[in-house]
């Protein structure tokens, strides 16, 4: 759990972060979102004490962060940044093993852990293990960055616009990867982004900051359907509000329990129950159909999604 309690950071009289209170539940993904200068990165960097707050406290699974010496604290917190910051003179293996090495793990254990993480991040261990960062693509570098952050199995993961510098396709792939890793590891994650789709896609709780102040915190649905003021409405909604609402719902929520479509059923066209309605809508339009069969993870029929039901809410 990460909890900000009345946290402020002042620089020369002006507030970078102003009285922020925000909680990310154990095992959840919390998102700090806002425009540049909103204080979101400053807030994040106070968690691992790269910056110390002027007032207020930050609680981390029972203790406050200032109770631990920064060096010890940081070895328990994974940190991923936009510019990745891999050590250029170390191989991928040595980079990922950074924190385990600092903690004095035995070599064999580090090697096994690295192999496990490369596997988790879908990197070919034999191909990349002994490479240097400059020999990898941007997407591969960021995967290694994520693996490095996860290496010592930290309590929490901090991510500062981790995918901001990547092309849209790689970014989407890595977002899916983070969702998958989160599902696997149940780590508490605090993510900073200015990308609304990313926040809605990954966040369990989202805090919208503006000029250092918390404007509204809540679930993606709260922010879309019950904005506290016009700023929130404009920020999240705009012309894309409808599509964003579809983005946060899955096929499972509005499908009808009919397991067959008029006798003809095409296995290949079935969509998983966890697919977002936004993607399902896109598929319907692309295929020119108004119904899609829905299946579970194992491919067993669950029901049918109707185009007409997407707008009923």
């Amino acid at each position: 759990m990460i909890e900000f309690r009345n946290v402020s950071k002042r620089y020369d009289g002006s507030f970078a972060v102003d009285d922020l209170s925000f909680t990310v539940a154990e095992g959840a993904i919390g998102v700090l979102i806002g425009t540049s200068g909103s204080g979101k990165s400053t807030a994040l960097r106070m968690v691992n004490r790269l910056i110390d707050p002027s007032s207020g406290t930050i609680h981390l699974s029972g203790t406050t962060v200032e109770q631990l010496p920064p060096v010890k604290l940081r070895r328990r917190i994974g940190y991923v940044i936009q510019s990745v910051g891999l050590f250029p003179h170390w191989t991928v293996e040595r980079n990922i093993g950074t924190v385990p090495h600092l903690l004095g793990w035995p070599k064999a254990k580090i090697r096994d852990r690295v192999a496990q993480l490369l596997d988790l991040l879908r990197l070919d261990a034999n191909a990349v293990r002994h490479k240097y960062p400059h020999q990898l693509s941007g997407g591969q570098q960021q995967r290694v960055g994520v693996a490095r952050a996860l290496a010592a199995d930290p309590d929490v993961l901090l991510m500062d616009e981790p995918f901001g510098a990547l092309d849209p396709i790689t970014r989407t792939a890595l977002q899916d990867e983070i969702a998958f890793i989160h599902q696997q590891t149940k780590k508490t994650i605090l993510l900073v982004t200015h990308d609304i789709e990313e926040a809605l896609k990954l966040g369990d709780t989202i805090a919208l900051l503006d000029r250092g102040k918390l404007v509204q915190a809540g679930t993606p649905r709260d922010l879309l359907t019950a904005p506290a003021n016009d700023f929130v409405r404009d920020f999240f909604g705009g012309a894309n509000l409808g599509l964003r609402l579809l983005e946060i719902e899955t096929a499972a929520t509005v499908m009808r329990p009919e397991k067959r479509i008029d006798g003809e059923r095409n296995e290949a066209e079935a969509i998983p129950a966890s697919m977002s309605l936004h993607r399902a809508l896109s598929l319907m339009v692309a295929r020119g159909v108004d119904r899609l069969p829905v299946v579970d993870d194992k491919g067993a029929p669950q029901g049918t999604l109707h185009l007409a039901d997407l707008a009923k809410r």
Binding site: N48, L50, V71, R74, R76, I81, G85, L86, F87, P88
Partner: protein, 251 residues
């Protein structure tokens, strides 16, 4: 110098070849007597015999090594100091002092040092160490500053102590640039050490100076050949070391 990553076998290394050539010149110079005698028939003594060349070489190397180690320790130390938070305010002062050290011609430093500490190797050591300081400080500072901020932040946020960040991350990444500074410093000092013979320090400059004083061109050529061969050997050896410290760049 090649900076690509190809592995060079030790026997094909130009640094080794240059070292062998230098040694051949040092020990084989007397064998060249007929050549010098033929070229300068007017000279009574066509080969320098004041001291054996190997002794001059050792003494020259010792002087350069001692002054370069001193300049390296002080220069790298100062470079590290002024790039730390605590030492940032000294930066201007230290860079000015180092620049002044290089502005004074070594001959002037020698001339000032002699009345203060007398003739011999000491004034030469001091002049060379001061003269070699600037490139090392400058390159240490720029090498450390060139470490990307994201890398430094990643190191700190991994839970490295300040010492670990410096030793394991900053210095290895800055090493090629720092080593280049040391290389410049040493190469300059090999040439400058020849001047040390004017204040009574033994070096390969001795045949040069004696030759100039006594109109013996053969001595001058012998001294110049040896200083040149030594400078090339050391420079090539640095090239080799440089390839080693930046092997990760070309992998």
């Amino acid at each position: 110098m090649t900076t690509n990553g190809r592995h060079i076998s030790w026997y094909a290394d130009p640094a080794l070849g240059a070292a062998l050539l230098t040694l051949a010149l040092v020990f084989g110079m007397p064998l060249l007597r007929p050549v010098f005698a033929g070229a300068f028939p007017e000279l009574d003594r066509p080969i320098y015999v004041g001291d054996p060349f190997w002794l001059l070489l050792l003494s020259h190397l010792g002087l350069v090594a001692a002054s370069s180690v001193a300049a390296g320790v002080v220069g790298i130390g100062a470079g590290i100091l002024v790039t730390r938070k605590a030492g940032r305010s000294f930066r201007g002062t230290i860079e000015t002092l180092a620049a002044m050290g290089q502005t004074f011609p070594p001959v002037a430093v020698l001339a000032v040092a002699v009345p203060l500490i007398g003739f011999g190797a000491w004034p030469a050591f001091i002049a060379l160490a001061l003269y070699g300081l600037l490139p090392i400080i400058e390159n240490t500072v720029s090498g450390l500053e060139q470490v990307p901020a994201a890398v430094r932040e990643a190191a700190a946020s991994s839970g490295m102590t300040a010492t670990q960040v410096l030793r394991d991350v900053e210095l290895p990444i800055a090493a090629p640039i720092i080593l280049t500074g040391v290389r410049i410093s040493v190469t300059i000092n090999i040439g400058t050490a020849a001047l040390a013979s004017t204040v009574g320090a033994k070096s390969l400059g001795l045949p040069l100076i004696v030759g100039l004083n006594s109109d013996n061109i053969a001595y001058v050529i012998q001294g110049a050949l040896l200083v040149g061969a030594l400078a090339i050997t050391v420079d090539l050896a640095f090239g080799r070391a440089l390839r080693y410290v930046q092997r990760w760049k070309v992998a």
